[in-house]
Amino acid sequence: MPTRRAVGTNVLRKDGAEKVTGRARYLDDLRFPNLLHGRTIRSTIPAGEIAGIRCQFDPKGFTSVDYRDISGRNVVALIEEDQPCLAERAVRHVAEPVMLLAHADRDRLAEASVEIDYRPATPNYDPEASTLSFKRIAIDKGNVERGLAEADRVIQGEYRVGHQEQLYIEPNGVIAVPDGSRAVTVYGSMQCPYYVHRALKVLLGFTDDQVRVVQTETGGGFGGKEEYPSMIAGHAALLALKAGRPVKLVYDRVEDLLATTKRHPAIIRHRTGVKRDGRLTAIDIDAVFDGGAYATLSAVVLSRGLIHATGPYRCDHVRIRGRAMMTNTPPNGAFRGFGAPQTQFAAEVHIDRIADELKLDPVRVREINAFRPGDVTATGQTLGADCSALAVLREAVKRTNFRKKRRALKGTGRGIGLSLFFHGSGFTGSGEVKLASRASLALTERGARILVASTEIGQGTRTMLAQIAADTLGVPYDAIGVNEADTSAVPDSGPTVASRTCMIVGRLVQQAAADLKNRLGPLTPTQYLRKHGPLTVTAQYQKPGDIAWDDVTYRGDAYESYGWACDVVEVSVDPVTWQVTPTAFTTVHEIGRAIHPGLARGQIEGGSAQGIGYAILEEVVMRDGRMANNQLTNYIIPTTLDTPNLDVVLIENPYPRGPFGAKGVGEMPIDGPAPAVVNAIRHAGVDVREIPATPEKIMAACASR
């Protein structure tokens, strides 16, 4: 049995001292000799063709790169290969990268004038009018028409969610360092070094050994640095290889907001059959996601979104249809939650409306329909003892005195609302099998060194993995080191996304540590090293035997396990300005086990604040296919004064297959706040079905009453 000394306690962050003293080195802090600065020349039109490019500057000292300089394939390799690294002729969105420049002098670089002549085409910004779909998914259970026929009432609703910007405080940035003409190292702010590694191999036509990717200390990611770094890294590498010198390419906030990925907007329609007593007889959902100009991760965002689309409710008859469509806007991509915040917004606002229509208590309707262990999901997955929907609901309702408040606040211009939600840990279905992640542990004098590609982006990866390794190996937490995420040194542990780092990679680290401990036998690490020499063990992902998923029919066990949560929010709506102020926030989360309670709470608090921003503050204003408010003055995230006190309750329900019982926690917190806020606004008397629920929208909703 592993001894428990670090797991479950708030050990000090591995990187804490560096961060509070200013010693932590983020990408822009790095210096290289002979460095050039890079700049991206981007399309200014949303659709059309490039007729010509006119460079109107003295070329002395400049390195210029366009698509013709690409030695491999001109794609940003991801799931599809539809996105060029540099536009050749076709332009599909504003800010599409066309050309790259580098120069040692930043002022000369900024002043260089490049004019692009276009043959414009008519852009389409409407995903429902689009004829190009990146992905279509159908999920069926039972017979939805039969379920609708059984219903006493059928209740319909349409819900809309807008873009959201990840707004990591450190913008995207990389430095590419060439080694001759056939090798390159890229340092950068990123979540997935091996994604970048693969993309560079394809772009440059290089082999594994010719590309090295090193993650630098990263100032926030939230999904915004999952796939985008492959693009910026490709640009920097092209410049560096052509110039024969290191190139630093960093975006300022204006460029980052304009050009990089955002959360997919979506339109989600529900048609629900219900019995008079509140039981759901049929769930029929249609969802349209706006993918932007290229596929990037739309297929998987759609997938996760649709799998969570019913909300945490059982129903015998379910039909879910979804499509991710192309529009002439900058491609959308990963952002914490990855489709689930969108679809669960709709599900949770809809079920409150169902409760209203049936004149039932919104808690009661949820209690009747919430998943219990043994229930079967829309994809045919039977939920196990790790299903805690009712427990989190009941705890939240009790703790906040929800029912009493609900009666007391009625008609006061204030409201209280709740949301019940869930979130699968790890990659969908067979995703983890395909990733075949590996984690290694190298024996050191005192203990061990963790070698994984999982990145620290603030959530506490280094700390949490070290806790798991320490307790399994039976050494102090301080005896465990964590290697840089450097592809030349660490195996591919898969991307740092999808709430998988603790449950999947943590489990691998646990396995490797157990293996290491076994091999040590009675010897101490020092004794072993002296006797046998160096030792590194590697654990590789094995699919738990009873998990089965069919990618074609979209049936089976979508996720190994789910987290469960319930948010309760109180708001006041100002009658003079229609501004919504969240005045109280409680969330109850069941995540199996908290390896580090402080870090888990940090994820929940941070994700909740982002969810509040999603609900009422954060609006991407698109004009003619571009983000018009691409400055921090005008894209607003919550400040201290916009964020209520965040009351967090963690319920532990150890998941047997998780390391020390842990499941994922990174994404789930952002799924719940928006519908809880909108349900509270509804309770305060205003029916909005779209977020962000800005004061202007609240005013319009009041006017149309």
Partner: protein, 176 residues
């Protein structure tokens, strides 16, 4: 141009209209001060000038002549906030942390929640939701960490009795 930097006399040659942020990071090689937006919105570039927190991305170098400038490096790693931000989760990704700590230094001793909220409104954090930052500051002030607001303290429920209650609740309700 002469000024005092982290308690020591400094004489730095840079363009008078260069941003103080750039002079600190590039000419003085102090990269602890960060750029998050370049427009005075995020506060990641916060430094103290004569004890007052300002956005160094908005200060022309000429205007610090003769002034006392303090960056995160100037705290020497010894300020109590630098300990409590680690202990209480005030730093996650860390990019806002140098600016946040300096702004917190300027709050003075024992700030109330309202003091912290208004005093830090110019420092954006995307990771923490601010709660852990308040806890970190209160811990450095010698406050108990959980009394940010009496009624709504966060509570980690990992006590066995709650787990047992929860499990038995499930057990009792296994039937529909």
């Amino acid at each position: 141009m002469r000024f005092t930097l982290n308690g020591k006399r400094a004489d730095v040659r840079a363009h008078p209209m260069a941003r103080l942020l750039d002079v600190l990071r590039e000419d003085c090689h102090l990269t602890g001060t960060k750029e998050g937006c370049g427009e005075g919105e995020c506060g990641a570039c916060t430094v103290l000038i004569d004890g007052l927190p300002v956005n160094s991305c908005l200060v022309p170098f000429a205007q610090v002549k003769g002034a006392r400038v303090t960056t995160i490096e100037g705290l020497g790693g010894k300020h109590p906030l630098q300990q409590t931000f680690v202990e209480h989760g005030g730093a996650q990704c860390g990019i806002c942390t140098p600016g946040m700590i300096l702004a917190a230094v300027a709050l003075g001793p024992k700030p109330s929640l309202a003091d912290m909220q208004s005093g830090l409104a110019g420092n954006l954090c995307r990771c923490t939701g601010y709660s852990a930052i308040y806890r970190s500051i209160r811990a450095a002030s010698g406050h108990a960490t959980e009394r940010v607001k009496a009624r709504t303290t966060s509570r980690l429920v990992s006590k066995p009795d709650v787990v047992r209650t929860f499990r038995s609740a499930l057990g009792k309700r296994r039937k529909r």
